[in-house]
């Protein structure tokens, strides 16, 4: 296990409290948990891509960053208008 994979493993545990936050509270607080999970998962995938020494895997966190933003924005607009 190299440095990157060790850091990725440590980061994986950060997703546990965020997952718990996504499972409780009001809908808007769950959305905040989802947005935080998107940012942390992006960093996680970046570390895994570097850890496995596959440059092409960097496309995955880039796609996730863009899609998590779009998804979060749509949810936020939905909550603002309809909830």
């Amino acid at each position: 296990m190299n440095l990157w994979l060790a850091a990725a493993t440590a980061l994986l545990f950060c997703l546990i409290p965020i997952g718990i936050a996504c499972l409780r509270g009001e809908a808007i607080d769950r959305l905040i948990g989802l947005e935080a999970a998107g940012a942390v998962a992006t960093i996680e995938l970046e570390m895994l891509a570097e850890g496995f020494r596959r440059t092409s895997f960097f496309d995955l966190p880039l796609a996730l960053a863009l899609l998590a933003f779009a998804g979060g924005l749509v949810f936020a607009r939905f909550f603002e208008r309809w909830m």
Binding site: L3, W4, A7, A10, L11, C14, L15, I16, P17, I18, I20, A21, E26, I28, D29, L31, I32, G33, E35, A36, A39, V40, T42, I43, E46, M47, A49, E50, T55, F58, D59, P61, L62, A65, L66, A68, F69, G72, L73, A76, R77, F79, E80, M83
Partner: protein, 104 residues
Amino acid sequence: MSAGWILQAALLAFAALSAALTAIGVLTGKDSYERLQFMGPAATLGVWAVAAAVLIQEGLDEAGAKAVLIAVVISLMNAVLSHATARAVYMPQQEDSRRRNGGD
């Protein structure tokens, strides 16, 4: 153990700590605004620390450029997303208080 390796280790540890701060803050924040604020460490500091570590490892090749692009995207998008989410929290509260005060 080279200086580059030590610097990478420090940057990755910093990124992991900032993600841990985000995780704990999102879980224990006392209201929605505070939880939103705790998204900052991972989305601004953490992602740039990882991008710097990738740049040290790879240089400014394809992987380095993509890491910087990811950091730029996450940093900018986090600001927009936080604003939109805070607005989604604030507007219904304003609507409720206006209704309670007899507005239409």
